[in-house]
Amino acid sequence: EKLKKSFPWFGMDIGGTLVKLVYFEPKDITTEEEQEEVENLRSIRHYLTSNTAYGTTGIRDVHLEMKDLTLCGRTGNLHFIRFPTHDLPVFMQMGRNKHFSSLHTTLCATGGGAYKFESDFRTMADLELHKLDELDCLVRGVLYIDSVLTSGPSECYYFENPRDLDHCAQKPYTLENHYPLLLVNIGSGVSILAVYSENNYKRVTGTSLGGGTFLGLCCLLTGCSTFEEALEMASQGESTHVDKLVRDIYGGDYERFGLPGWTVASSLFCDGFHMMFKEKRESVSKEDLARATLVTITNNIGSITRMCALNENIERVVFVGNFLRVNILSMKLLAYAMDYWSKGQLKALFLRHEGYFGAVGALLGLLHPS
């Protein structure tokens, strides 16, 4: 018990694209503790809390930091750090350099990488991972963060007037105990869970068309290389240059089926026929392609989610995952799609800590092993 609670407290989620790390920085360290604190531990604490970037790719999301959090009787700040999964060896090397293994702590890890890299952690960093199921961690993390009262902005929010772009605004929402929930985690791929209580949930389905698909296709189509770059391009593009809309086919709404003219009939439909015309090809910019890809992937997730909500008879949908990070466009699209196609029945909810819930769940696994 003592061993488990000894610092440092980490929770790690190793996904297909990103590693998410949460770190609890105790702020109530007594003088006695400070004296006992080994040098290695202190150096790690200092390194993490005094920097906002680590190496070339590691980033601390300062705006997400949760201050004065009480966890397991201790008060401190919760830090949220991420870096690409392909830089995991660098991280392990750093752990080795900082003699992490000497701290006799348990490193709780979840996500597929906890399995894939388990032996690498052992050989490269002399660390034994305590592996936790990623969906357990996700659910636990979401419910925990939502339950914590902090002074900062509300964790959960929704978009008011989702169908009216001019009046569409973020509004706080209290999630507490609003079961059942549909939890849609959009990482590289997508998992959709129906949550009935903290310990009762099921994975309904998933789709391989997720954040990884957006970024992968954007890289191939536009030559960009990062998520931020892809999003930036998308924000400047116009998807209707690429998509074929219902009004392109029917000249207006397809009234027989109640389809408004702006509905996308076929995504990314620059068919072979159109591609043969040079002017058509050149009128499509990289920004348009990025935009169309983003819209396509987002709407597809929206449509699968909506079907699951109907099949499971659930009215509240919580979207999480790093695909939504700085991706206000997708969030608004999802809010719009849920509202429009369900005629106001479905509510799309979002959480500020988007992609970190698995890591938070892993941290909780360290402190409250079930």
């Binding site: 996904g15 597929g112 389905t205 296709l217 439909f269 072979g272």
Partner: protein, 770 residues
């Protein structure tokens, strides 16, 4: 008939675009009589539909008037060849590049001046509207695409047996055809065109678009073109079929190092489509990207389809649209996706005539006043191209054809066809005993067998029209046509649904009809009937002299002996004379190969049946000396009898009109038959078919009505075609008797017997014994 649809090649070559020549012998047949046109213009293919009439020669039999009887000499009845006009639907599919040439052709051959409008549907209808109106002088009347699609779908599901199939790439036969369920509703139609439409169809007129997706065939095409610089849809599919998606997609094992066991997600499952193309700085091959794209889109559509099927509680999901259109690659990925998402609970179904649905629907919209839905229609095997495989590694013959013209012809049947009300489970009834699509060995044998027999069939056809000099030429054309069909079936046994002995026989009949050989056996049948009639009284008398028990056996033996005598069976015509056959059968020792005669005899000691339905087989000895005495005994017992015979000729099978004359003649000699006929205890009815085999799910509506009215409690099926090749395993809800002699050594061998083995199968459904 062939002449009707033919066009003088000289005139046509003058008026047509020199660069494209149409094979007028084959396509746009019967254009002279065409009325009611419909056209469905898609992204790359045009489908034209028209209604026409076909003038056929049909053989009719007629009793001689008493006044002219002397002049007729020895003849039993008069056989007259008459012209009959029947309705036929023609559907032709060709590449859009041909559209102008085709319109010119139609214009030149369109004689029917009543036609004023052409129904049009499909995305290209708008684009070609002006051209069509200018070329044909017809007003283009646009019809809603989805409505046409659904109408067409309902029509093929109702009228074409083996329309729907399940695709299984790695199975012995890729195509597993579904039995026609009499109740086709409700179902889900997932149409994958540029985008995806998901439509729930509840009845003929009630359907609803319940969902859709913008990720469809257009996305595959568009994204594929952007990623690979390959512009043609077919080429993209070819690329995809050669690629490895795992180099582009992020799989579960790429994240987990293996499977995600506790969720049952295997390592090879795609976690993120194109997930690797974001993390690796490398070039990806066009093949791999195309494959990944194909998987992404197919899986997505499959998933949505499953979610909608689940929400609306539907288990039949049909897929269509240009993304599917017979492409094995997309059928495979969609099937895979459906299996994955429903764990096998829902099967992905595809349609043989999927490409024609829009055209059929548009046509039906325009033909409402002809009430096409009130009739039953049948696929004409002679005039239809059948399902073509478009897989990249197919044989050259298919390749040459798939790029040009594909045809579907459907004949309007005189009678409406329905299920036999006595089928135990109509939805699981399969008429055919052996599916040659799945049984390669049997297929090999039967295709060989039919090819071998072709010379004889041609000879008989010529001999049946001795006074017509060009009969030989026509017979030769018949030979070529049927030979070609056999060759097609050798390469693609799935072309017309499940390949069966029945379909091979029916195709032959269709081809014979196509070349105006409506009844090659008419004269032989007449002669055999005449001879047999002469023995009737003697036969009945000798039976009456037997003890009750001996007579029951003799009656069964009589049916079997009569059935051996069959000109259609090669072994019989080769080796046997009438006398030999009788000797054979009388000496044929029991127990027979299948022998439940003792049970039958026991049953006969019990109360009489209310009504027996007897499906008869051959003319001559079979019907007159075998069946009628057997029927006579049933009548004696107080059982009413319904004799069901073919509506039209097939081989030497007795037709309904022949049987009418024969029973009249017998009635004149036999008061038992006479009174039974007069009192309606013996009724003749046509079965609605012109096949040597029997499909109990497509029978004349009148027959079905009669069966119900008379409370039929015994069904007798006689002969190899009806009781062995088909219906051997048919389960009925009343007592049944299947009697046949196996006149084919290969089949006898298969069933564990010898040539001329006897099958006497008496069955009582569970819980119905007396």
């Amino acid at each position: 008939m062939a002449e009707c649809g033919r066009v003088d090649s000289n005139t046509s070559s003058h008026t047509m675009d020199k660069s494209i020549t149409l094979p007028p012998d084959e396509i746009f047949r019967n254009m002279e009589n065409a009325k009611r046109f419909a056209i469905d213009i898609g992204g790359s293919l045009t489908k034209l539909a028209y209604y026409s009439t076909v003038q056929h020669k049909v053989a009719k039999v007629r009793s001689f008037d008493h006044s002219t009887k002397e002049a007729a000499g020895d003849k039993l009845y008069e056989i007259a060849v008459q012209e009959e006009v029947t309705a036929r639907l023609h559907f032709i599919k060709f590449e859009n590049a041909y559209i102008e040439t085709c319109l010119d052709f139609i214009k030149d051959h369109l004689v029917n001046t009543e036609t004023k409008v052409i129904k049009a549907t499909g995305g290209g209808a708008h684009k070609f509207k002006e051209l069509i109106e200018r070329k044909l002088g017809l007003k283009v009347d646009k019809e809603d695409e989805m409505t046409c699609l659904i109408k067409g779908c309902n029509f093929v599901l109702k009228n074409i047996p083996h329309e729907a199939f399940v695709y299984a790439k790695h199975a012995d036969s890729e195509f597993r055809f579904q039995t026609t369920n009499p109740d086709i509703f409700p179902y889900l139609l997932v149409n994958i065109g540029s985008g995806v439409s998901i439509v729930k169809v509840e009845s003929e007129d009630k359907f609803e678009r319940i969902g859709g997706s913008s990720i469809g065939g257009g996305t595959f095409w568009g994204l594929g073109a952007l990623l690979t610089k390959t512009k043609r849809f077919d080429e993209l599919l070819q690329l995809a079929s050669k690629g490895q998606h795992s180099s582009v997609d992020m799989l579960v094992k790429d994240i987990y190092g293996g499977s995600y066991a506790c969720l049952g997600l295997t390592g090879d499952l795609i976690a993120s489509s194109f997930g690797k193309s974001a993390t690796a700085d490398k070039e990806f091959s066009n093949e791999d990207m195309a494959k990944s794209l194909l998987h992404m889109i197919s899986n997505d559509i499959g998933q949505l389809a499953c979610l909608y099927a689940k929400l609306h509680n539907l288990s039949r999901v049909y897929f269509g649209g240009f993304f599917i259109r017979g492409h094995p690659v997309t059928m495979h990925t969609i099937t895979y996706s459906i299996n994955f998402f429903t764990k096998g609970e829902v099967q992905a179904l595809f349609l043989r005539h999927e490409g024609y649905l829009g055209a059929i629907g548009a046509f039906l919209k325009g033909a409402e006043e002809d009430n096409p839905n009130q009739y039953s229609w049948g696929e004409n095997y002679a005039g239809s191209s059948g399902l073509m495989s478009v897989s990249p590694d197919m044989n050259p013959m298919q390749r040459a054809r798939s790029g040009t013209f594909d045809m579907l012809e459907m004949d309007r049947l005189d009678r409406q066809l329905v299920n036999l009300p006595l089928l135990q489970d109509p939805s699981s009834y399969i008429p055919d005993t052996v599916d040659l699509t799945e049984d390669a060995q049997a297929r090999e044998y039967w295709l060989y067998c039919f090819e071998e027999a072709l010379d004889g069939v041609v000879k008989r056809a010529v001999a049946s029209q001795p006074d017509i000099p060009e009969a030989a030429e026509r017979a030769e054309k018949f030979r070529q046509k049927y030979l070609h069909k056999l060759q097609t079936l050798r390469h693609q046994p799935f072309a017309y649904g499940s390949l069966t002995v029945r379909s091979l026989l029916d195709t032959r009949e269709h081809c014979l009809n196509e070349f105006n050989f409506p009844d090659p056996y008419s004269k032989i049948k007449e002669r055999e009937n005449d001879i047999a009639l002469k023995y009737y009284q003697k036969a009945v008398k000798s039976l009456e002299e037997l003890s009750w028990e001996d007579r029951q056996f003799a009656l069964v033996r009589g049916v079997l002996a009569g059935n051996v005598f069959d000109w259609g069976a090669k072994a019989v015509s080769d080796h046997f004379s009438l006398k030999l056959i009788f000797t054979f059968c009388f000496s044929s020792d029991r127990p027979w190969l299948v022998d439940s005669f003792d049970q039958w005899l026991e049953r006969l000691k019990g109360p009489p049946h209310r009504c027996a339905l007897f499906f008869v087989d051959n003319s001559g000895v079979d019907i007159i000396l075998g069946v009628i005495p057997f029927v006579r005994e049933l009548l004696f017992r107080g059982t009413e009898v319904v004799l069901a015979s073919n509506s039209g000729p097939a081989l030497n099978d007795v037709t309904n009109s022949e049987l009418q004359i024969l029973t009249e003649r017998i009635a004149a000699m036999d008061p038992v038959i006479d009174s039974a006929l007069r009192e309606d205890r013996l009724t003749l009815v046509q079965n609605g078919s012109s096949s040597p085999c029997l499909d109990l799910s497509r029978l004349d509506k009148v027959l079905a009505m009669l069966v119900r009215e008379r409370q039929t409690d015994l069904v007798i099926i006689e002969g190899m075609g009806r009781a062995i090749h088909t219906n051997y395993y048919a389960m009925l809800s009343c007592e049944s008797l299947k009697m046949a002699v196996i006149k084919n050594s290969w089949l006898a061998d298969r069933l564990g017997g010898k040539l001329f083995s006897v099958v006497f199968k008496y069955e009582v459904p569970a819980g119905k014994s007396h």
